[in-house]
Symmetry: C2
Subunit: 738 residues, 2 copies
């Protein structure tokens, strides 16, 4: 005999967070929404949970527990509260929904099916964990699929994304809404589990949301108190409600979230009218219905055929039947799609009125909806002759290129992880994105129309929020982030998610290479470029001077489906207007200085180009050798070129050696070169120029090594270098003359 439903209710009651009563703390009922009767809710809950269990059982895998536990939350959201249009998931003013606990995706997929998202058929639902290449039900939600706002899975990222989505709304609303006419007023809902606010990125993001008073953001916490290792208190005993309050959030408790749809609806509606972001702490039961309800075993594995049968029996369903959704369940959700169409119609009507009253603003807003640039951006890019010819730090060049762009083209949202004085991204007449209520001690305030974002010292959240800004609606914004390049290692999980999702944005990464100097090895990236050069769909561009910086910006802005890191120097760099080319940057690498008769090809990159040129000169002067020079700002762009172009740049068939000079780990240069002068150890705290000296990036040290290599090749043939890549590095006295 299978356990009764009361058994599961008992399990629920015995859990660490006891569902003692239906109560929404301190919030009086504001609900004027007519809920369906309790037995209808119960029916939907039972079939929903059984269907989830069936889906995981089918291929003996997946994440059933939370999806079952969150069933009542889904009904509250999808049936009653969330404003969206199932027949047009891209409806511009839709509420955004982020499933930060992405492993519970079956929950979202099944609700999408029930409310009538066309592509989400039962057949598709059943493709979860199947071998079907065309499944739109992957193990975590993916942005490519209809109705999915962002790809989630790596925990905590979704919280940052949701903050970005809410900011996007705030900014558009402040910029375009007029009294009585709101063209944008959507909410952002973010579902999380026990992990998302253990992860630092989530904590950084909620701190910012509280600071910015993003009252259009609501986190819905599926508090089932279970993580993989057991109950969550094995690793977490903090008072999350107090913590969220201290971080500037309103907090609402719901204690019997496995069933009390009314309480959840009321909490969600309360969130819509909050003065702060809202955190709804909903106690649920993981795997509700299963014999293992409330146990971590229901988290990441199928429940087993026997348990699935028991669940159905306990729910009064037929254990012999699988994947059952009776007509009553479809009927229950039937109004949602129609309501969504009405929302769209109302919005279209609002836009029509708006267009009549504010034709200019409306025209601009139309461009935002279409994801188009608001101004002809190319005219703001300086010409080569506009740049200073004296030594210039490329971070300064980036300001020369980026600041006018950002000032004039309002699609840009420019942020910094507390490095305004260093990263040169602050443009003329900038307005900060801030709550208009904020009054800082230094009188640096702003409002929601602001496009300059102070992220604080939170690189990881900056990256995740930037993804959210970019994901709001393709092309509506082009987010820029900025920090020292080294600290894009903090942001790496978010930068990767941006690349995975094809979210265009620009990361201004200053203080690259060992040239950053005195701050020492902790601040000098060595291995990080290897990550970003290997990362699919990401452009890591290291320009060598202002002209190449212009090329980097142009390339980044044209890369509509790809994020770009522009990697810049702290220190002054010699300018090479006679050689450098913005068009060359777009091809990844190009001939910087050609020599008809040559002995060696030198590859110069970014801030090491100066040493490369000096070494070329010394090779000629003291060794009688001719070196041609290739500038190589971006490997991924170069890989996209034709074989003919590539060979014309590198001339590998010439029988002459190719040497890369870059103060990073050599990894990856071996594809193009026979040798490199690079870094196989961490850096050192010294003034910039001395750091380079210390590690042997001196023409007088490099030239003899290259000369010896050239002589060896002349003597033994280029074939002798095969399988014998040379690290011509020298440091700490090796080869030093002083």
């Amino acid at each position: 005999m299978s356990p009764s439903l009361e058994f599961y209710e008992d399990v629920a009651r015995s859990l660490p967070v006891k569902p003692i009563a239906t109560e929404i703390n301190g919030v009086t009922g504001i609900l004027n929404l007519q809920l369906e009767e309790a037995d209808k809710h119960d029916l939907v809950l039972r079939y929903f949970r059984a269907f989830i269990a069936d889906l995981c059982e089918q291929f003996k895998g997946g994440h059933p527990g939370s999806a079952m536990g969150m069933a009542a939350i889904g009904i509250a959201l999808y049936k009653y509260v969330m404003k969206f249009s199932p027949r047009n998931c891209d409806y511009f003013n839709r509420d955004r929904f982020v499933l930060s606990n992405g492993h519970t995706c079956l929950w979202q997929y099944l609700f999408m099916h029930l409310v009538g998202v066309k592509s989400m058929t039962v057949e598709q639902l059943k493709s979860y964990h199947s071998t079907r290449y065309d499944s739109i039900c992957p193990g975590h939600p993916e942005i490519e699929n209809e109705g999915i706002e962002v790809t989630t899975g790596p925990l905590g990222q979704g919280v940052g994304n949701a903050v970005g989505l809410a900011m996007a709304t705030k900014h558009l609303a402040a910029t375009y809404n007029k009294p009585g006419i709101e063209v944008v007023n959507n909410m952002t809902w973010c579902m999380i589990g026990d992990a998302c606010l253990q992860e630092g990125v989530g904590l950084e993001a909620v701190s910012l949301a509280g600071h910015w008073k993003l009252n259009n953001l609501c986190i819905i916490y599926d508090n089932n108190s279970i993580t993989c290792d057991g109950t969550a208190d094995v690793a977490n005993t903090e008072d999350i409600n107090e913590k969220m309050k201290a971080t500037g959030w309103n907090v609402i408790d719901v204690f019997d979230g496995h069933s009390n749809i009314g309480a959840i609806v009321q909490a969600l509606i309360t969130a819509r009218s909050s003065d702060k972001p809202t955190f709804i702490n909903i106690r649920t039961v993981i795997g509700f219905g299963s014999l293992m309800a409330g146990n971590a075993k229901t988290h990441g594995a199928a429940l087993g055929a026997e348990d699935v049968a028991n669940i159905k029996k306990a729910f009064g369903l037929n254990p012999e039947e699988h994947f059952v959704i009776p007509p009553e369940v479809y009927d229950f959700f039937r109004e949602v799609a129609d309501r969504g169409e009405q929302l769209e119609a109302d919005w279209n009507s609002t836009i029509k009125t708006y267009t009549e009253i504010y034709p200019e603003l409306a025209a601009e807003f139309k461009l935002r909806v279409e994801g188009k640039m608001l101004d002809e951006w190319t005219k703001y890019i300086p010409k080569k002759e506009d740049f200073p010819t004296g030594p210039t730090a490329s971070r300064k060049s980036a300001g020369l290129v980026g600041n006018p762009l950002c000032e004039n083209v309002k699609n840009f949202l420019i942020g910094t992880a507390d490095l305004t004085p260093s990263c040169n991204v602050a443009y003329n007449k900038k307005v900060d994105f801030q709550s208009p209520e904020l009054r800082t001690a230094c009188n640096l305030n702003g409002d929601y129309t602001g496009r300059y974002i102070h992220y604080g010292i939170r690189e990881h959240a900056m990256g995740a929020i930037s993804n959210g800004l970019a994901a709001f609606n393709k092309g509506t914004f082009l987010p820029i982030t900025s920090s020292f390049f080294m600290f894009y290692i903090y942001a790496a999980p978010a930068v990767r998610m941006g690349a995975l999702q094809g979210l265009q944005q620009i990361h201004i990464a200053t203080h690259d290479s060992i040239g950053t100097g005195e701050d020492g090895p902790t601040h000098q990236p060595i291995a990080l470029p290897a990550l970003y050069r290997a990362m699919p769909n990401l452009l890591y561009i290291r320009p060598c001077d202002s002209e190449e910086v212009a090329g980097a910006f142009i390339t980044a802005i044209n890369a509509k489906e790809t994020p770009t890191i522009i990697s810049l120097s702290r220190q002054n760099l010699t300018q090479y207007p006679q050689y450098s080319s913005r068009d060359g940057v777009a091809r990844g690498a190009y001939v910087f200085i050609e020599e008809p008769e040559f002995d060696v090809t030198l590859i110069g990159v970014g801030s090491e180009m100066g040493f490369t040129i000096q070494t070329k000169e010394l090779l000629e002067k003291e060794h009688g050798l001719k070196a041609r020079v290739v500038s190589f700002p971006c490997q991924r762009l170069f890989e996209q070129q034709s074989k003919e172009y590539k060979q014309s740049v590198l001339k590998p068939k010439s029988g002459k050696p190719i040497v890369a000079i870059e103060a990073y780990a050599a990894n990856g240069w071996e594809r193009y070169t026979d040798a490199s002068i690079s870094m196989r150890r961490f850096g050192k705290s010294l003034p910039s120029a001395t750091t380079y000296e210390y590690f042997g990036f001196q023409p007088k040290i490099m030239a003899p090594k290259i000369s010896a290599l050239v002589e060896e090749v002349k003597r033994e043939g280029i074939e002798s270098l095969r399988g014998d890549f040379r690290d011509l590095n020298g440091y700490l006295g090796i080869g030093f003359e002083h």
Copy 2:
């Protein structure tokens, strides 16, 4: 005329956090320590601040502001509260001090000088920001230098390190202390600025410290309310005290921290007797004494000669004199070194008594102090014949090797980021590291003798804490962390700091490659190995079967100054006891299957070895080609081998092509190969085997491509491949037969 000292006090009073009164909230005076008179404190404060200003002025750079602001905190710590021995900075039971806001290092350097740390001479102090290669005063503190516990700089890391250091003490104390005889009872002090608790890693770490009730840990918050972008409220307006309380910390306020040494001392002493970790929120004035006091401009740049002169005038010092430390200042600190020697003497006497009463424990404790293994670890490593010969996931193999080791050798501290069921690091009879007061809902409890650490879903803090555990005393602990390999991208900043500091530890990274399957592209690492292979002083080892897993552990345990990532499969792998070799792993790569006459060399790695062997067989059967196979678990280890060995493994001079087969980005393999079958795009959510199929890792797809390459080389010579590295990848129908 220069401003009076009152001017600066006024500046202090006008700052956002007003120093309204000397008050330690709710804490009654427990101070029975006789403080020096106020005028002596004032004298030291004045000379200290002027000296800092001089140091930054010397080379026109550095971080003067916070170092000057924190002067009174330093006197409280170094003169009165911290238990350490300046003449023997390695004294085992010393209080550990972490400067998490590492840019303020001059503050630490100067106090180290004043208390008599021998190597820290005035000449050395003056080498800060100089071109001297032998400076022990780098721009951020570095572990190599006397008296520095951990290298800091990347913000927030130090908080994690401090949590690890405090855990180390707790664990040793619980294991070895006896009633009335405490062989370990040191405090850990962690200095932070405004950034360290904005960073997620800091927030993760404090959450754990609160959970573990680490009452031997104290964070001292230099709350000057200034960050680079302005006052801190530009990006942060949360109530940090309430947040820390909600996280399980005691909180003490000090309001006039720029001068009130008594209040700071009292707070620090209170922290020593707390039942929880303590957070001391000390309001200070950045750049105290400067005309720009309280302004971000004093943070990261020299103050200018005029301001430095004004500071001295305001302080009643001679503006013409530089680097002045009068005898009274040295006198003030003179007792500290003697007191430190007495501490050591007392501890030695304690150890003597302990040794008499508990000779066996004392012998073991002596090994801990000497940083030696407590047991002959090699005997716990299974022999090749002990392993199962059927298909075995390498994460399971890692359990077979690691679990007996961890069970028996008590130096190991084993942790997981909430993946106990997945990572197989939980050993027999494990005891969890927990507060003995904890009572979890799932009855999974522990105490401080425990060596199994539930980090929760906090990979970044796990890495930073692990660094702290390893840094406590070299060799006392060998920390192990575990998570999915993909989520070592969250931990990357901390893993890097471990490599930079030479802190031995083992990271068990399961679910590597696209073989992790259904969880999809968010969980499938593609670029991450490129980061870890390029990272100096880090071993990234991908074993292909159980025997190689044994080799990976042996190598990792022998690497006393180097952290190791052991990269493991989720899915079952064919075992190759006839070919695989633990000794081969130690050399990075080795011949797996030799063929006297061969057409091609195939490189197999980790979980892709099976496909490599199958491809070899298919090449022979269907293409009549002989392939030799090299197993290549670790590039960095291979690089350390002789040229002769390397060429004997790869045979680059044979004129035969070399092809690597690995489901990661190819970056770096170009050093060793002519072609690779790899990944240039993100993964896909499919069952493990299907994922490999989808991306063309099928022998029937790979063999023809390799065969074509061999034919081309036969036809055109190996030289034809020069500068033309081949990506022989195939996916999404390209080359598919079904």
